[in-house]
Amino acid sequence: MKEVVVLSGKGGTGKTSIVGSLATLAERKVLADCDVDAADLHLLLSPSVTQENEFWSGQVACIDLDKCSQCGLCQELCRFNAIRDFQVDAIACEGCGFCAHICPVAAITMKENLSGYLFLSQTKYGPLVHARLGIAQENSGKLVAQVRQRARQIAVEQNLEYIINDGPPGIGCPVISSLSGATLSLLITEPTLSGMHDLERVLRVCRHFDVPALVCINKYNINEDNTQRIENYCSAQGVTLAAKVPFDNVVTKALVQGVPIVEYSDGKVSQEIKKLWQKIHNVLEETKQFA
């Protein structure tokens, strides 16, 4: 079983559109949407949900005002400013439980928090594991870890070879959770100064967690000078540039129809994504199985 995780640093470079197409090209795989706080992959794959599980994670402090003596110690000690006027701000509360431990009259209890849902779906491209983090909830990293764990389970049960993981933007907690222990990362960038700046940081995260990376430049013809600079950067860093996908409105047209681009058109974009999958496939074949 081998897992490729698609990241970008900068948002909106085309991760989900490309993963949607990889879903149609790869065989014997399970798909995982690890962008749990703004998941979009389901919009391309028309899934039917076969299993839904609650995601309980973390706790929230709850003050029993009948018991509270209004001594104010909890307010004074809370580092997250989550208690004001003996009321808990559930959004600010990080669930550390400090207040419950120190309350002299035991008026504070910690309540389990329903922070989202985990779904297993069937699509015509194979199984999809996805999730929805509750609005303004924490622990996105833990939910990502559950999505990946479920995807691995499915891969084992159904004897599937690949996990294709659509990652979140950024470099923080959910990205680290999507990346650690993966076989390969595919970094989607665009030829803008922002895209390049963010590629450089996300590549450093991959190195930090020792996951090899491939780069794909999306919308490469928007600024060919910058594309050249990314190519130079990749070769200086010893990172393979796997594909250069042109900008074409047809990608948005396919998205509006709710289908992956390679199914919608056979133009240059689709040709390039097919080449991209071939490269990813070759690299995965050369990589040793992970335990």
Partner: protein, 288 residues
């Protein structure tokens, strides 16, 4: 007044809007731009900013004094994040899991735990041609963006108009970045992805009881779902930016929209006045 620029979906144009709004207002108002997208901050690329100061951002993590510890295990039991473990006569700490709540050091019966700073990022401040600018940078490999964002917010000049460039998504870093704003502009694009993530972002700002309006970027590229949604939900579309290759090229070169196409300044100025009007109506108790 504090205006946050958020989106749900990444890459819809938050930075473009935040920079252009700040640059359009800076000649007539005192303005501070805060780059709260500390994982991937980009505002500095578009500003010729001068950094005048910086400060490391530290988490307070436990340090156990071996001579004092009696291995009672209290710290491990109270830590909600499993950042400290006691195995026989060994205490292990996992600083990257620590949220810095301080429970372990406070509750240790032997007072064997002190707190040590551990750097997770840096905040920089300066200016760009009259515009105040603050930027947070999360260290590569670090997971927790929220403490860095919290620090960036502290450096805002309270007397100025504050514009916060928010990270994508809807989880804790976004909540921290928009908390305390008077208004949240949600930048989206007219596609099914843009719509799906806009709806999540709207739920988030409503949960925080913050007023919002929409900027529709790359108008003309997809479908009419976003406009229909905004009508249904009674959310004003305050600015529409068309799909234009010239705008995309300027962005790719790191040139602010209002620098490359100064005719846009008026639109951003009007956008600000519309926001001001909405915020004032609310504070006068007029139902919006």
């Amino acid at each position: 007044m504090i205006i946050s620029i958020a989106s749900g979906k990444g890459g819809t144009g938050k930075t473009l809007v935040a920079i252009s709004l700040a640059l359009s207002l800076k000649d007539s108002h005192e303005v501070t731009l805060l780059d709260c997208d500390v994982e991937e901050s980009n505002d500095h690329i578009f500003l010729k900013s001068v950094v005048t100061g910086s400060e490391p951002i530290n988490m307070q993590v436990p340090q156990v004094a071996k001579g004092k510890c009696i291995y009672c295990g209290k710290c491990a039991r109270v830590c909600a994040y499993h950042a400290i473990a006691v195995l026989g006569d060994h205490v292990l700490t996992f600083p990257q899991l620590c949220h810095g709540c301080g429970a372990c050091s406070y509750l240790c019966p032997e007072k064997a735990i002190s707190e040590e700073p551990r750097q997770t990022g840096v905040v920089e401040w300066g200016h760009s041609d009259g515009l105040g600018f603050v930027r947070g940078i999360l260290t590569v490999g670090e997971a927790m963006a929220t403490p860095v964002i919290r620090k960036v917010k502290e450096y805002a000049n309270g007397n100025s108009i504050v514009i916060r460039d928010v990270p994508p998504g809807t989880s804790c870093p976004v909540v921290e970045a928009i908390k305390g704003s008077d208004f949240c502009l949600l930048v989206t694009e007219p596609t099914p992805f843009g719509l799906n993530d806009l709806a999540l972002a709207v739920e988030t700002v409503r949960k925080l009881r913050i007023l919002c309006g929409v900027v529709l970027n790359r108008a003309g590229i997809g479908d009419t779902g976003v406009e229909e949604y905004c009508r249904r939900e009674n959310i004003p579309i305050l600015l529409t930016i068309p799909l234009d290759t010239e705008i995309a090229r300027l962005y790719s070169r790191g040139v602010a929209l209002v620098d490359g196409m100064p005719q846009w300044k008026d639109s951003f100025y009007r956008l600000f006045n519309n926001i001001k009007e909405i915020v004032n109506e609310r504070s006068c108790g007029v139902k919006w």
